[in-house]
């Protein structure tokens, strides 16, 4: 397929993998985190780890918007969907994620709630137009990638005076989460050859693909300047990921730390200015927001500006704060930081499975644990 097969070419992959093997220093470990669920998916689906030497470890980060959504807010959406004359529209893989009371949007739908899976916020706007006597709520989640379309929809709703459309905004921001990962107290990284791997150490980051098309590469500079870690922005295709790994290994070997861009076909340093302007017009930054698995992170999410309050579901409806505590046995916070591997969690693949997820990492196919469960657990079986 044009523009896809080129980035999935097995022969090119073998060449890149050989170069990675040549250039890795066999006396040290390389712990690389891919932030995005999209990368996690590509890594697992194409078996990229099989092409890497044993001392290069990939840590699946928190960049799955479904996973990090706190179950209390999901429960609030479920409760909202069950109100009379409400149509709740949301993205696909959100629908089966359990809320704070173990309920899901799919179960609410089965009980009679009008819950609709949409491919874009436009579908929610269409539903508002065709159902003027019902309240259509768009359950907005996602990082900077899905945020501009939500902004456009809110502006359109205001222009068309759509009084029965509102947005339950759960958009989150990537850089604050990256900062939280780096700022968490962990042993300082060894920078010399011959030093054993330290748990939780992240030597470099594979930076977001689609998010970076919007925000550009500049917002990640702090990773290099404040925390001395290299970051390489990479596309979601498997060759992009391999190329980014090679670029990271070269920086690490040279003891360098800067932001590189492998995904030059889509990402510029300044990003998409128009999209950024749209986001800024409609949204404001929340002082703090809870991330499932990571806790409260300051300045890490967006709220709808007062100028657009009429289309803000949090103002139109009474939406209570629903406290949610993850299962005691769940070690998602450690998994998301690379301190614990998915298979090292006591409840992995026993009490916690994709059908009955207990923690953030298992709720969506792109979560670290779910990806390992679906695509990689044969490795664990082979090793045992």
């Amino acid at each position: 397929m044009k523009y896809l097969d080129e980035f999935r070419d097995g022969q090119l992959a073998r060449g890149l993998a050989a170069r990675i093997c040549q250039e890795t220093d066999s006396t040290r470990h390389y712990a690389l985190m891919e932030f995005c669920g999209g990368h996690t998916h590509a890594i697992c689906r194409y078996g990229i780890e099989d092409l890497l030497p044993g001392n290069v470890r990939l840590i699946h980060g928190p960049g799955c918007p479904v996973c990090v959504l706190p179950s209390g807010r999901l429960q609030a959406a479920i409760d909202l969907a069950e109100q009379e004359r409400v149509i709740l529209c949301g993205y696909g893989d959100l629908l089966r994620v359990p809320g704070a009371r173990g309920d899901t949007l799919l179960k609410a739908k089965a009980r009679g709630a009008d819950v609709r899976m949409v491919y874009s916020v436009d579908d929610a706007l269409d539903a508002a137009c065709t159902h003027p006597n019902q309240q259509v709520v768009f359950f907005a989640i996602g990082f900077e990638t899905t945020t501009p379309p939500t902004a456009v929809a809110i502006q359109q709703a205001r222009r068309e005076r759509l009084g029965n459309f509102s947005v339950y905004c759960n958009h989150v921001l990537t850089p604050p989460a990256l900062r939280a990962l780096l700022a968490a107290p962990l042993p300082s990284p060894p920078r010399r050859q011959g030093v054993a791997q330290i748990k939780g150490q992240i030597d470099g980051f594979i930076g977001p693909a689609h998010v970076s098309t919007i925000i550009g590469s500049q917002p990640y500079e702090f990773v290099a300047t404040d925390y001395q870690r290299p970051l390489v922005i990479a596309g979601f295709e498997p060759l992009d990921v391999l190329q980014a790994i090679l670029m990271l290994i070269r920086q690490i070997n040279a003891n360098e730390a800067h932001v590189d861009n492998e995904y030059t076909r889509a990402v510029s340093p300044e990003g998409n200015r128009k999209a950024q302007r749209l986001m800024d017009e409609v949204f404001t930054i929340r002082s703090s927001f809870e991330w499932r698995g990571l806790g409260e992170l300051p300045g890490s999410a967006l709220a709808i500006r007062p100028a657009f309050a009429d289309w803000d579901a949090e103002r139109r409806f009474t939406i209570p704060e629903i406290p949610a505590i993850d299962h005691k046995a769940c070690v998602c916070a450690e998994v998301l930081r690379g301190i614990t591997r998915p298979e090292e969690c006591k409840v992995f693949a026993t009490a916690c499975t994709p059908d009955h997820p207990l923690g953030a990492c298992m709720v969506s196919a792109e979560g670290a644990c779910a990806a390992h469960y679906h695509y990689g657990r044969f490795r664990q079986a082979a090793a045992s």
Partner: protein
């Protein structure tokens, strides 16, 4: 057969009429619907007898029986409709025992208000599919539910077939060392239906692969009676079908992604929607598992049939206490091909 003017002086309005509750009420209206629509289309001696059950001649040997309900939405899609699908689906389930399908039964649950013109299209399509397959619909039933309590039409078909002497085809027969063959490209039916759904405005040139596979199976069984297992990868696709077999036989599987045929438009639409073709439904494809020494013969026979032209050997059965289905990716790595968790839902990113 000609309608009986004395009993039904006014013919059913098959152009503008709708299904009414009386069409399922057991009275004259139902008799007319059966006679002017179902009987006229499916016409055969068993139905003409108009008894509650069909009396069948059954050749000696082992019979297999299968039933399948069809609730597809939309009812009409590129390459087919619920009518032909309901015939093919059950014929294929019967054929997956290596059997020759003999008879079909059909049950319709109709929603009050459903246009008779659409029902006629569906029934004609069923009749054509059954005739083309050489498998008569010998008995049936019709019920009508109130408006809002159905989705237009649901069809359940049941079939019986005769298993040839010496053929022993079952999932539990799959053994380490066996070859895994697939009769053609994946995902055509599921993506054809999905592209038609109202909130997806795709102009994709994808047609459902819905087809009756019994003649392909007959050729395969004749050439290689020792086939261990046959399965049509319908809902849940290839991924779930292989996991079912692996669990039932207590074996593992090793697939080669590069060998699995997927047509370009299907790949493109799956890519666009974040779906994996391995889990998309097929309605005219089969999986065959046979001893490795017969694999080339079986492949040649499949290639010689119009429904098996793109057949390929896609992997092999291995010993594995975990019953994992693994795949060597086009990229050179390995992955698990796991069961689906619920329905396949599009990813956000």
């Amino acid at each position: 057969m000609s309608p009986r003017r004395d009993v039904f002086p006014h013919r059913l309005d098959l152009q503008h009429g709708c299904v009414e509750l009386s069409h399922g009420g057991g009275g004259r209206a139902m008799a007319q619907l059966i006679e002017e629509l179902f009987l006229a289309a499916f016409d055969n001696a068993w139905l003409r007898a108009q008894d509650d059950g069909a009396r069948l001649m059954v050749p000696p040997g082992r019979l297999t029986m299968a039933t399948d309900s069809h609730v597809v939405s939309p009812l009409f899609f590129p390459g087919g409709d619920i009518g032909c699908l309901s015939v093919h689906g059950t014929i294929n389930d019967v054929a997956m025992a290596g059997a020759r399908p003999l008879y079909l039964a059909a049950t319709f649950i109709l929603e009050e208000g459903f246009p008779l013109a659409d029902l006629k299209r569906i029934v004609d399509s069923m009749a054509h599919a059954a005739r083309h397959a050489g498998v008569p619909i010998v008995t049936g039933d019709t019920k009508v539910v109130e408006r809002g309590k159905g989705d237009g039409v649901f069809i359940t078909t049941t079939g019986v077939g005769l298993i040839p002497e010496g053929v022993e085809i079952a999932a539990r027969q799959a053994q380490p060392g066996d070859a895994i063959l697939l009769s053609g490209s994946l995902g055509d039916h599921g993506m054809a239906v999905m592209a038609q759904r109202e909130n997806l405005r795709f102009d994709a040139s994808i047609e459902s692969d819905t087809a009756a596979l019994h003649e392909l199976v007959a050729a395969m069984v004749a050439a290689v009676p020792g086939i261990h297992c046959l399965r049509d990868p319908t809902r849940g696709g290839l991924g779930c079908a292989l996991n079912e077999i692996a669990q039932q036989a207590g074996v593992g599987m090793q697939l080669r992604e590069a060998a699995i045929p997927v047509h370009e438009p299907v790949r493109a639409l799956c890519e666009f929607l974040g779906l994996d073709p391995l889990y998309v439904a097929n309605e005219g494809k089969l999986l065959a598992i046979c001893p490795a020494e017969f694999a080339d013969t079986l492949l040649a026979v499949m290639h010689g049939h119009s429904l098996g032209r793109e057949a390929a050997i896609i992997g092999e059965v291995v010993a594995d206490p975990h019953c994992f289905v693994e795949m060597a990716t086009v990229f050179g790595g390995r992955r698990l091909v796991d069961w689906l968790s619920g329905e396949q839902l599009p990813r956000i990113c």
